[in-house]
């Protein structure tokens, strides 16, 4: 086969290069359009479809718009091949938003895939369905996510968690509570993988809904080390925010250290500060800065800086109520404990997040444990190195002593990127101490000779900063810098090398910063610098030196004597200077003249006049303006002959003051605090870009989250149980229950977490006194196992095993329930009536209508409606009739077809079987008539026209979903087996509350409460819909009051399609309080099912007065 490859070495190498590309998709990427893609997509071979899709992807990769293939691609979503499926999904996600109508075509396939036994297929379907971002399908997607959130496969649940932000992103307000509820459910998952994804969803959906975290805070902390790294990053942040919101900051922490120091001197007493660093106490950390940092974390720097304009308010202390202590707060302690091992994580982001928690929450003495892990991060990729350094810089600014012993880690490698080098330099200059400065300076000397001159310039600047921070070392620095200036000015002669100028400027500036601290003792340095003036050619550096001449012109003994010479030199060189330097010369000349001694005054005056004259004729208008300004100001000086001569006029006096004020002022010490003091939370994007990125939120206000009383109670109660363990059957069963609900069991699959409670209680208490007669009891030992198996079978939809398994499982399942039958409920059912026409619009005719449960005699598609006519006017009304508006127009043709096809299909039956005409309706009289209607759509109203008194009024008859079904009489066994065949996407649940029974129970004291509840629920359901009550299961509850576990089942068939539709209502709550109902519908017709579910949930909530 390969003999063509064998001949010579040359062909072999060619061939091997070819082989490398054979089988890859290279040709597809290079020429995606060399064949016609469209026919390939319609091919019946999977491989050709695959190739076509790959070509499309290649085009997408190269930035072409290939959305015109959308319809053809969507068809292929039905493919069985996983590769084709995957490629179709990739394509769909890219274009769905652009082509919403075509994308809708794919929904049914997703629905089908969501019920697939293969978890991977389910997960893909869910991901794609949630990702195509169509508002229309948001409800479907949401219920799909809800379903998948209870999937047995961890991977699917994880994808469900990831899908939540996609739905949230559609900004559908009405779904927000449901989404948040799902986040809560997923956060409570027992699998760490799911919790991680749920934490991500929480962060992007409802980062401030702390009640969700509060519920399982401890569990989240415990599960944290097992969560996947990406989830850890976000979960750590979430937990931190929760603790701050719940308990406030920690008193012993660095954030409040200033407060602590001031209030009670706690730290000095314990010597904690003293241990930490090798310098003196004031050096250990900058208290103002630390407190600024903590303020920024809580308020956000932008708000903070806009509010307060300086350091003064920084010291405002936190309310002591808003703080807590590690010692007595369990939550803080757990948070610190569970995040500290994460400092060893392999993922830099996790380490940084964990370090952030310790930084903010840990007691002062524990903060140092973040140092080594952070430093270790510097040995990762260049990009992460940069981000880590940015964060370390903030830490070091606040507490330089933390990093001071580790200065060697910030020495620069030749392979570091420029930004990393710059940050390392800043770091070194921040943390240099008297003990380390000599090593650091020696390193700096090396850096100055680095070929990267920009870096060398930065190094020179860093030397200046070091010298400024450590007053002991300037002499050494200054000599070095001066040498550098001399050398640079020599090398800079030719200005051959780029960036050389920068080094020189930095050197002069650094010298200036050092001198500034104590000019008098550095007089000689200044003099030397002046001497270099001639050799320094770089304008900026010259300008700085000349500026120094002006500032220090009256300093010490040597400089005043040099002044005349220097000024002469400046005047001489003025013509050849850059305008930047010229401006400085002008300023300096003015300053010199003002402070001139008597003996030099005449001389200086002449020079200054000369300079001013030159300046007036300069090409640069800035220089000219400056000259004129100075000339005017100095006019009084220039006019007089002696510097001390008293000015005569008061006006001149003022000028003198102005001049004094402008030029004679001492330099203001320049505070670096106002620069770079935008602090954002460690590890955040905002800290890197130094502005608040959209979505950035500072820490929540301390103690802003108050847990409601009962939550706390139940929390503590739960703890007690967990501790007391096996103290009694009741409590142990509760504990089991807790575990059970986190495990994936059949009950939660059924969509009602709550029912499991009832179940468990049954198990534990089935020896308790029965309150209701029930048919049979069996102690079930292996019930749990069987049930969980059944749940899986349901999911996997394996017919064979279901049929084997189900009966026994069901028997067991039923065993601890008592069945009751509610007699004679039918007579009490009172269907709801709607208004078709109110007397106001109908000249006194009032028409109400009520849906009847009777089955139509005409066709199974028709619904019987009873119409009640009332005449509330004073005159009789004649010839009242209702007719179909549309049928009237086309009645002829309709009749023809009816005759022609004769019952071929129900479609040909007229939509309205009209009523007999009411010949006359006397005032006050009422009459009932029966009409039969076939609705075109289960949501759209039917247009009818009402005739009376010879007039025609259009009316709308709205369908009631509850009556578009008909009772379907089946046994409970049939019900359950049908239900088991409709899992997954065919099942929907909703919760609602129910209150009708309260009134009933109050009124009928003697009657059993359970029975009353059952009756009122049944009544309510049957009054609003046409269903068959299959069974009512009563839990064997421990208490009289608890109705939890009560379950009613109804069955029906959809009128139009004869598809069975099963409804299960599960009750939770106390008999005398509001009940929480979970309504579940199993139906193949998903859209109808969902709508009916909503309808049921709506009418269950309504309180009706006619319930009795």
């Amino acid at each position: 086969m390969f003999n063509q490859f064998g001949s010579t070495a040359e062909t072999l190498s060619k061939a091997s290069a070819a082989v490398l590309r054979i089988g890859t998709d290279a040709h597809l990427y290079d020429d995606p359009e060399d064949v016609n893609i469209a026919p390939l997509l319609d091919s019946k071979f999977e491989s050709e479809k695959c190739e076509a899709l790959k070509r499309l992807l290649a085009l997408i990769a190269q930035g072409f718009d290939v959305s015109n293939f959308f319809p053809q691609v969507v068809k292929n979503v039905a493919s069985q091949s996983s590769e084709v499926k995957k490629l179709v999904y990739l394509y769909l996600l890219h274009y769905a938003e652009k082509r919403p109508n075509e994308a809708l075509l794919s929904i049914n396939y997703f629905q089908k895939d969501l019920g697939d036994p293969n978890p991977l297929v389910r997960a893909w379907a869910l991901r794609t369905m949630a990702g195509i971002r169509l508002h229309v399908i948001a409800p479907l997607a949401l219920s799909a996510v809800g379903k998948c959130a209870r999937d047995p496969a961890v991977y699917v649940r994880k994808c469900a968690a990831n899908a939540l932000p996609k739905l949230h992103d559609l900004r559908l307000e009405e779904h927000a509570p449901a989404i948040e509820e799902l986040v809560g459910i997923l956060l409570n998952d027992h699998s760490p993988g799911v919790v991680g994804a749920a934490a991500a969803a929480f962060t992007s959906i409802c980062p401030n809904n702390f009640s969700l975290i509060g519920k399982n805070y401890k569990k989240l902390c415990q599960i944290l080390p097992d969560v996947e790294e990406w989830g850890q990053i976000l979960l750590i942040g979430t937990l931190l925010r929760y603790v701050v919101a719940r308990h406030g900051l920690v008193r012993e922490s660095l954030m409040l250290s200033l407060h602590g120091l001031e209030s009670n001197g706690f730290y000095e007493k314990d010597g904690l500060v003293g241990d930490k660093k090798d310098g003196d106490k004031s050096d250990s950390f900058d208290a103002n800065l630390v407190s600024l940092v903590s303020k920024c974390y809580i308020e956000g720097p932008d708000e903070y800086l806009s509010l307060s304009n300086g350091v003064d308010t920084v010291a405002a202390s936190f309310d002591s109520k808003e703080t807590t202590s590690v010692g007595d707060n369990e939550d803080v302690k757990i948070l610190l404990q569970c995040t500290s091992p994460l400092l060893w994580s392999n993922n830099s982001a996790v380490v940084l997040a964990a370090a952030g928690v310790q930084w903010i929450m840990a007691p002062l003495e524990d903060v140092k444990k973040i140092v080594k892990p952070l430093l270790f991060l510097l040995r990762s990729s260049t990009a992460s190195k940069y981000v880590v350094l940015c964060n370390i810089l903030v830490f070091a600014k606040a507490v330089p002593s933390l990093f001071a012993p580790h200065f060697e880690d910030f020495f620069i490698c030749s392979s570091d990127a420029y930004q990393v080098k710059a940050h390392k330099l800043e770091m070194l200059s921040l943390i240099a101490t008297t003990s380390s400065i000599s090593s650091i300076l020696r390193e700096f000397e090396d850096y100055i000779k680095d070929p990267d001159r920009r870096f060398a310039a930065d190094t020179v600047a860093a030397i200046g900063l070091c010298a400024k921070r450590l007053p002991e070392i300037p002499t050494a620095c200054l000599n070095g810098l001066l040498a550098l200036v001399r050398q640079e000015s020599f090398a800079g002669d030719l200005e051959l090398v780029d960036g050389e100028a920068g080094v020189l400027v930095q050197a002069v500036m650094s010298i200036q910063t050092i001198i500034e601290r104590d000019p008098l003792s550095h007089e000689k340095v200044i003099v030397q610098l002046f001497r270099c003036l001639d050799s320094v050619k770089v304008a900026a550096a010259r300008a700085t030196i000349i500026w120094m001449v002006g500032v220090y012109c009256s300093l010490g003994h040597i400089i005043p004597r040099m002044l005349t010479t220097i000024t002469k030199y400046l005047a001489w060189s003025f013509k050849s200077e850059a305008s930047e330097t010229k401006l400085q010369i002008l300023n300096t000349a003015a300053k010199v003249l003002i402070s001139a001694e008597v003996e030099d005054f005449q001389m200086l005056k002449k020079i200054v006049l000369y300079v001013l004259e030159l300046g007036e004729c300069d090409l640069n208008y800035d220089v000219r303006d400056r000259t004129r300004f100075l000339k005017k100001m100095l006019s009084y000086k220039l006019a007089c002959h002696e510097p001390t001569e008293d000015s005569v006029a008061s006006q001149e006096n003022i000028a003198e003051h102005v001049v004094e004020y402008v030029f004679g002022r001492k330099l203001k010490p320049f505070s670096p605090l106002n620069l770079h003091n935008r602090f954002y939370l460690p590890g955040s994007l905002s800290q890197i870009v130094l502005h608040a990125a959209p979505g950035y939120e500072p820490l929540p206000k301390p103690c802003s989250f108050v847990v409601e009383e009962h939550d706390q109670l139940s929390d503590s109660g739960r703890q007690r149980e967990a501790m007391s363990g096996l103290n009694g059957s009741q409590e142990s069963s509760e504990t089991v229950d807790e575990d059970g609900s986190s495990e994936y069991d059949s009950e939660s699959y059924n969509g009602s977490d709550f029912s499991s409670d009832g179940d468990e209680r049954n198990d534990a208490n089935d020896a308790a006194d029965p309150l209701i007669q029930f048919s049979d009891i069996a102690v079930s030992t292996d019930q749990e196992e069987l049930r969980s198996k059944r749940a899986l079978d349901l999911w996997l939809d394996e017919e064979s095993s279901t049929s084997n398994q189900t009966p026994s499982a069901l028997d067991r399942n039923q065993s601890s329930y008592a069945k009751i039958s509610i007699g004679d409920i039918g007579s009490r059912v009172k269907p709801k009536s709607y208004t078709l026409l109110d007397p106001g619009n109908g000249n006194g005719v009032k028409i109400d209508y009520t849906f009847l449960s009777e089955v139509s005699t005409v066709s199974p598609l028709h619904v019987c409606v009873e119409v009640l006519f009332q005449n509330s006017s004073t005159e009789p009304i004649v010839e009242v009739s209702l007719e179909d508006e549309e049928a009237m127009n086309v009645s002829d043709s309709a009749e023809q077809t009816l005759v022609g096809k004769a019952n071929a299909s129900y479609n040909n039956v007229p939509t309205l079987i009209p009523m007999e005409e009411l010949s006359c309706l006397e005032p006050g009289q009422s009459a009932k008539r029966l009409i039969q209607v076939r609705f075109h759509h289960h949501l759209l109203p039917m247009r009818l026209s009402l005739h009376y008194n010879g007039k025609k009024v259009p009316v709308k008859l709205r369908p009631d979903l509850g009556y578009l079904v008909k009772p379907f009489s089946i046994t409970i066994e049939e019900f359950l087996s049908t239900e088991s065949r409709l899992p997954g996407m065919f099942e929907y649940t909703r919760r609602c509350t129910f209150t009708d029974h309260i009134k009933d129970t109050r009124m009928e004291n003697g009657k059993d409460k359970f029975l009353t509840i059952c009756e009122s629920i049944t009544l309510k359901v049957l009054s609003n819909s046409n269903l068959h009550l299959v069974s009512v299961d009563l839990p064997v509850a421990s208490t009289l009051e608890d109705a939890t576990g009560l379950r009613l089942r109804f069955s029906s068939k959809i009128l139009s399609s004869e598809i069975p539709l099963l409804i299960t209502i599960t009750v939770q709550g106390k008999c005398t309080e509001d009940l929480n109902l979970t309504v579940k519908i199993n139906c193949e017709e998903t859209v109808f099912g969902l709508n009916l579910l909503n309808r049921i949930a709506n009418f269950m909530v309504e309180t009706s007065s006619s319930a009795i």
């Binding site: 760490p192 990009a383 020495f411 090396d446 001159r453 870009v689 608040a692």
Partner: protein, 411 residues
């Protein structure tokens, strides 16, 4: 969360775009990015007018991710690094052609690794089970049959178990576990020839092929030398905290168990003595390399590379051992190999400075490379590797090697 990932070739061409959320990012952002000045462009985190960009560059390929909202930047960067690792593992390297030739695999991988901007499956072992890496057999198969799917139909058993890094029940006829200590030496020798900093960055790399659900314990003879460490997620924290023992259920196949750092080493195995004198426009260079402290094993593949300063116009360098190459970007590499027993390798020659320059005032830094097999210079020793349940036919193996990391000798 991340909104989009672009893969850019070294000429700035967008090779691939993968939109992650509904908020689409136009690819014009790449053009904007590419047009920025170098110093700005090389920032890992960039605030562009419309988006925040995260980038890493790996083997000439720029991985660019965009977001518009606050998110941990390190998360994005680490994720991009993970993507780069996985891709180069799948494609056997990374370059423009490889990415283009295998763009389908890249798409499939990206789709699996990130969902809605949040990382989904990043464990390489699991990914391998979901999407088969291209290999010769599959390529041939696809040529012959024209149909070979590399997407797995089934969900890997490990995805979503409580040990997501491990397939649930792998079976091997022979059980093997190998532990490698791979160390890198970071050292800085300053211009005075003084060793400023010398430390070891090491990794414990393992390769395990064990049946079932093995529980391993690895202990060191001298864990106290370790300065810092970072662990694979499989390592349990408790046993390490209490008695410095690594207890873990290993992933299947190759993985990095932990990385560590040992600081304040006293000596480097090699010495490099550079000398440079410059006068009247020419510089004389001589560099001597020799063994300072014999590690007891052969020091192999010694190289020395440095960047000639910009002001050098031409260079004439030769050596008495090994080869010297000077690339057009003025990178000079001296490949020595092993140190001969009879002489000391010496690089010597002259550099001509650009006209007008008398003397050299900037000096290059020499980067040293070497490799020593069979020894861990940090002195870290593995004591034993225990399995809780010993499978039949178990082979254990230990190896060590040290190579140069950031070994800088300044001139």
């Amino acid at each position: 969360m991340l909104q989009c990932i672009f893969l850019l070739s070294d000429s700035g061409e967008v090779m691939l775009e993968k939109q992650l959320t509904g908020h689409r990012v136009d690819r014009s952002i790449c053009a904007w990015f590419w047009d920025q000045a170098d110093s700005f462009k090389s920032l890992p985190v960039i605030a562009s007018p419309t988006h925040y960009l995260f980038q890493i560059v790996r083997d000439g390929i720029t991985f660019l991710a965009c977001t518009q909202v606050e998110m941990p930047p390190l998360m994005a960067i680490e994720f991009l690094c993970r993507v780069a690792d996985v891709l180069s593992d799948y494609l056997g390297g990374l370059n423009e052609d490889l990415v283009k030739d295998n763009f389908i695999i890249v798409y499939e991988l990206l789709d699996e690794m990130i969902d809605n901007g949040f990382p989904l499956t990043t464990e390489p072992n699991i990914l391998r089970e979901m999407i088969a890496p291209p290999n010769l057999v599959s390529k041939m198969l696809s040529v012959v049959t024209g149909n070979a799917s590399n997407v797995s139909d089934t969900l890997p058993s490990g995805a979503g178990s409580c040990v997501p890094w491990r397939p649930t029940d792998p079976k091997y006829s022979s059980n093997e576990v190998y532990v490698d200590l791979v160390e890198e030496m970071d050292a800085i020798v300053n211009r005075d020839g003084e060793l400023v900093k010398c430390e070891i960055y090491g990794e414990v790399q393992m390769s395990s092929q064990l049946t079932g659900f093995p529980d391993l314990t690895l202990s060191f003879a001298n864990p106290s030398v370790l300065e810092d460490m970072r662990f694979h997620p499989c390592v349990r924290f408790r046993p390490w905290e209490s008695h410095q023992v690594l207890s873990f259920v290993p992933p299947d196949g190759q993985f990095k168990l932990m990385s560590y750092r040992v600081k304040k080493l006293k000596n480097t195995p090699l010495y490099v003595k550079p000398q440079i004198t410059s006068d009247s426009g020419t510089c004389r260079v001589s560099v001597l390399v020799g063994i300072r402290s014999d590690p007891g094993k052969t020091i192999e593949s010694i190289t020395l590379s440095f960047q000639l300063p910009h002001c050098v116009s031409s260079a004439d360098l030769s050596s008495n051992h090994g080869t010297v190459t000077i690339l057009s970007n003025k990178t000079c590499t001296w490949t020595i190999g092993r140190i001969p027993s009879d002489k000391t390798p010496c690089l010597s020659g002259t550099l001509a400075l650009e006209t007008g320059l008398e003397r050299l005032h900037v000096y290059p830094t020499f980067k040293v490379g070497f490799k020593i097999m069979g020894i861990a210079l940090s002195g870290l020793r593995i004591e034993k590797l225990d399995l809780k349940t010993i499978p039949p036919r178990l082979y254990k193996g230990f190896r060590a090697q040290t190579r140069a990391g950031e070994f800088d000798v300044r001139l």
